[in-house]
Amino acid sequence: MTGGLSFVWEHFKFNLASAMEYRAGFISQVVFMVLNDMFLLFFWWIVFGRVSNVGGWTFQDVVVLQASMAVSYGLSVSVFGNTPRLPVLIAEGQLDYYMLLPRDPLLHVLVSRSDISGIGDVAFGVGVMVLFGPDGLGPLVVFSMSAAAGAAVFTSFGVIAGSLAFFIGHAQTISQQLAGATITFGGYPEPLFRGIVRVALYSLIPAGFVVYLPARLVRSFDLGTFAVLMAFAAFAMAVAYWMFRRGLSRYESGSLVGTRV
């Protein structure tokens, strides 16, 4: 476990250092992402200029919602940045490199790349949480832990969708659609969605676990809800790992010749 965490951390540091070689590009990616996320708040600023709540959610709740989405997504793509590319790597037979090394291939694939703009998402989420979120250290601690769980769920669903490529060949579209739907639904308050859509948001599309439960926990902490979130994150990781291992037994190497530098 500690070895795994240290492996992830060392890869992240390496990816970060290589991105910072191009200092201007690094800064512009991060800054533009922070600004991009701020524009998303513009819409809510207009809406809350006319109403005091949306289905019982206040502007502060929506800020927490946006912060949860940004940090969960940002952590996922900056630390496990190869997740969106997993279906392409599988379909093109590019996993050989990872299978020849002693580390777990899934973890190694995921951490081999970082999307640096994700750091901007994390900076935005933490920043607005500190500036506009609930006062006190408690909510910030709950926010950090539940956003980390949200990132684990988001990444795990990315792996599950990506691993479909082992079975159906091309899974990039379904993988993109799942991530897109999670992000899109995750940007709007939970009370807007009822019935079958609400069920889907806690099953097929994991927005409920990535965003709604973390936001609910920051609004009012409840140990039972917190335990459900953590248990679901562990379950999603286990399913993702199982699915990838299961698929790997069907994997066929590609004949593509390439170099890694």
């Binding site: 207009i46 006319r50 109403v51 659609q177 897109g180 739907a181 709007y188 807007l192 969605f193």
Partner: protein
């Protein structure tokens, strides 16, 4: 004959895009998702007193959004293609060919955009009809709305071309497009009509050309009047001429600086 070749280029590009109709339909799935979410949002917000600005009912807001998102997601993405052609020097191949580079790009843009818009209009109308029912529309009104949308998309083309051609002078044009998309989002009134905005911001949006791309044609769909239509089309034409001349000027200046290495 001069115009015929561009119509032909647009037709070829339209046919080429129909080969990937699955991709276009998947892109439209995102459009349908956004519409669904906003329908839910206005169902919750609509009954609250003082939420909707004068001239907009809940039904009209949904149709407004169907129109603005159809335009936003219907415009073909040409920015990176043009910027890459300038940076790589591939634009040099266009110099010896018997067409205007801007005209060629406009034709290919319309070939792609027209297919996207057809799909979006069908999906948008279906979602809006199912969610809130019909708004009063006549064939003549639809035709005039179509003209305003066509000018809006042409105006967008020239805005994007001006930004793309700046690649002759700056290395990375990516940030310009990012800013442009956010400016369209805010001053264009993508998610909410600019009538919702605080007065100072509303006035700034109203005098900018960006509202002519999204807000003005979308509002014409839900609150049509002949005077506003005339004014909108007139302003769109003025900006198309201004930005078209600017794009032509940038292209003429840019190709004089062109250095192509290798072959």
């Amino acid at each position: 004959m001069g115009l015929a070749k561009y119509v032909h280029i647009a037709r070829i590009n339209f046919a080429a895009k129909t080969a990937y109709i699955g991709d276009v339909l998947l892109g439209s799935a995102f459009y349908a998702l956004i519409l669904y979410i906003f329908v839910q949002l206005w169902k919750v917000l609509g009954p609250s007193p003082g939420v909707l600005p004068e001239g907009f009912s809940q039904k009209e807001l949904v149709w407004y959004l169907a129109a603005s998102e159809a335009i936003m997601l219907g415009k073909a993405p040409i920015a990176s293609e043009v910027s890459d052609e300038v940076k790589s020097g591939a634009i040099a191949y266009a110099l010896g060919r018997p067409y205007s580079y801007l005209g060629f790009k406009l034709a290919t843009y319309w070939g792609d955009t027209s297919l996207r818009m057809m799909v979006n209009v069908v999906i948008g109308a279906a979602v809006a009809l199912a969610a809130v029912g019909a708004i009063p529309l006549s064939p003549a009104r639809l035709l005039m709305w179509g003209a305003a949308v066509a000018l809006a998309l042409t105006l967008n083309f020239f805005m994007v071309m001006c930004l793309s051609l700046s690649a002759f002078w700056v290395e990375d044009t990516g940030p310009f497009f990012w800013i442009y998309s956010k400016v369209l989002f805010v001053l264009g009134g993508l998610f909410v009509p600019i009538d919702f905005y605080p007065e100072s911001l509303r006035r700034a949006a109203a005098v900018s050309p960006f509202n002519l791309v999204l807000y003005a044609p979308s509002k014409l769909l839900v609150a049509f009047d002949a005077a506003t239509f005339g004014q909108t089309v007139m302003m769109q034409l003025v900006w198309v001429v201004i930005l078209g001349a600017l794009a032509a000027g940038l292209y003429a200046m840019g190709v004089r600086r062109l250095n192509v290495n290798g072959g």
